[in-house]
């Protein structure tokens, strides 16, 4: 019985994973395509040197800190990413500056 429950739960999780595979690649992480290019505000950031500098710094800090343990995750909506980054700040003792920079980069 326990085994059946565990296998059922795993099947559900794997189905959600397969569903994720079937989604368009617009959710792919920053490691492949860089930040999302949706929206005029993002385009404005890309067009400015200041925005590029912030993005590059954020990417560097992201790769240096997050890459210590795992591969680059996909982008999540900003409110989810804010939670994830707070969790990782505690878990991986990421500095306050790094956390802010990574959050900006991941929510651009």
């Amino acid at each position: 019985m326990k085994m059946k429950l565990v296998i059922l739960a795993l099947v559900l999780v794997l189905l959600s994973a397969i569903h994720g595979i079937a989604e368009p690649h617009k959710k792919d992480g920053p490691s492949k395509d860089g930040p999302s290019k949706d929206g005029a505000s993002v385009a404005a950031v890309h067009n400015s040197g200041y925005g590029d500098a912030i993005r590059i710094e954020g990417e560097q800090r992201f790769r240096a800190n997050c890459g210590r343990c795992h591969t680059a995750p996909q982008k999540f909506p900003p409110r989810m990413m804010a939670t994830v980054v707070r969790h990782m700040r505690v878990r991986a003792t990421i500095t306050d500056q790094d956390m802010q920079s990574i959050l900006r980069y991941l929510t651009q």
Partner: protein, 396 residues
């Protein structure tokens, strides 16, 4: 279902409860907190009901989520998340096959700008065929890895209270999740100094120079024999540094058992991710009265190979060498701690293929050498990290 809205100065709370309780006072005035408290008192009288207990739990979650959502601008408010990992692995250890389904749900509940409640459970089955044949069977382990409250007091200090992972080395806190670990077999020395502790911890990371970050963790844990909250009375900590430029990380760990034989455990870790190569080098050393040992692991992503680039950039090869020098511990102690009771060496080679973000197929082969006999360890499986929001995502 009836929905009752309670007005508040800071935030608003939406309570969803079964109709049998809502009939106590189904016409709550939305803006009057006093009336709402009367309503809650009436509900308290029916607390014996299991259904009510569930409703109360839902209320607390809704309250916490709403308080959390009440801070900051709309697009920056963190929301509660259900995340974690799930996997299914087949291990063949010395010719004995084992099916290992595993799930590690994690709940993250941010409160305001500085608080975070986080918890991780572990459900792990270990199913084997009985001697003489028959269907696979076995137990499902259920553990509470951590249930902690984090308060980010300032950029230098985060205060953690509750049940947390002992900050000893890097594997226990950061590399343990099955979707993160490069090889599914945990290192031989993993049980030394690790596990969960119930107490208080101070931790943080901060830059001391533009290219040097320090990090630390110090904790005290109390003795607990409560089911699922077992803990030893210990004190310990970890101190390390990280160089973001060359991406080098190193640190030392210490743990003092404050009960029974009051032993010490020491650890050292070193990790390097060169910027020019998709390479990840990690290592740990640990020593205690149970034994000592080390592991060195190298994971290389094949993204630089000039052929089959689409497949190669998703492929990672891993190698690990490790050794454990056992102290004089009995077989029972060894089983309790999960450590070999004889000197052991092991080499592992693995292959990971990342099907998509958070989903990877994994396979590995290991050869273990010990005076108890040499054995082969095969592992094949799949690991997945899931993330679900538990609140509104807001405007995009």
């Amino acid at each position: 279902m009836n929905y009752i809205e309670l007005g508040g100065g800071i935030t608003s709370v939406t309570l969803c409860c079964p109709a049998r309780y809502a009939t106590i006072n189904p016409t709550i005035a939305p803006e009057k907190l006093g009336t709402a408290l009367d309503f809650l008192r009436k509900i308290f009288r029916n607390w014996r009901s299991l259904a009510f207990t569930r409703s109360w739990a839902a209320l607390i979650l809704a309250l916490l989520a709403t308080v959390s959502a009440a801070q900051g601008p709309e697009n920056e408010r963190p929301i509660p998340i259900l995340t974690g990992s799930a996997g299914f692995f087949t291990n063949v250890n010395g010719g004995q096959a084992q099916l290992v389904p595993e799930m590690n749900p994690v709940i993250l509940l941010p409160l305001g700008d500085r608080w975070l409640i986080e918890s991780r459970g572990e459900f792990k089955g270990e199913f084997e065929r009985p001697e003489g044949g028959g269907p696979y069977g076995g137990k499902v382990e259920k553990e509470l890895d951590y249930l902690q409250v984090d308060f980010i007091a300032n950029p230098l200090v985060t205060v953690t209270a509750g049940r947390f992972l002992a900050p000893f080395g890097i594997y226990n806190e950061r590399l343990y999740p099955i979707w993160i670990r490069s090889l599914q077999q945990v290192p031989l020395i993993f049980p030394i100094g690790t596990g969960s502790s119930d107490g208080v911890m101070l931790r943080g990371g901060f830059p001391v120079r533009p290219k040097v970050n320090l990090n630390y963790a110090a904790y005290f844990s109390t003795l607990s024999t409560v089911n699922k909250f077992e803990s030893d009375r210990t004190a310990g900590g970890r101190f390390g540094f990280f160089l973001p430029g060359p991406r080098i990380e190193a640190g030392v760990s210490w743990q003092k058992l404050l009960q029974e034989d009051r032993t010490n455990a020491f650890g050292f870790h070193l990790a390097w991710q060169p910027a020019l190569l998709p390479l990840n080098l990690r290592s740990e050393y640990a020593r205690s009265n149970l034994g000592s040992g080390y592991w060195i692991e190298c994971a290389y992503r094949l993204s630089q190979l000039p052929f089959w680039s689409k497949a190669m950039r998703r492929t990672e090869v891993v190698a690990r060498a490790q050794q454990l020098f056992a102290e004089h511990i009995s077989e029972n102690e060894a089983e309790v701690y999960g450590l070999p009771d004889v000197n052991t060496r092991q080499g592992d080679f693995g292959l990971n293929y990342f099907l998509r973000d958070g989903l990877k197929a994994t396979a590995s082969y290991g050869r273990r050498f010990s005076s108890d006999g040499n054995s082969n360890i095969w592992t094949v499986g799949i690991a997945y990290r899931f993330v679900f929001p538990l609140g509104r995502l807001g405007a995009k």
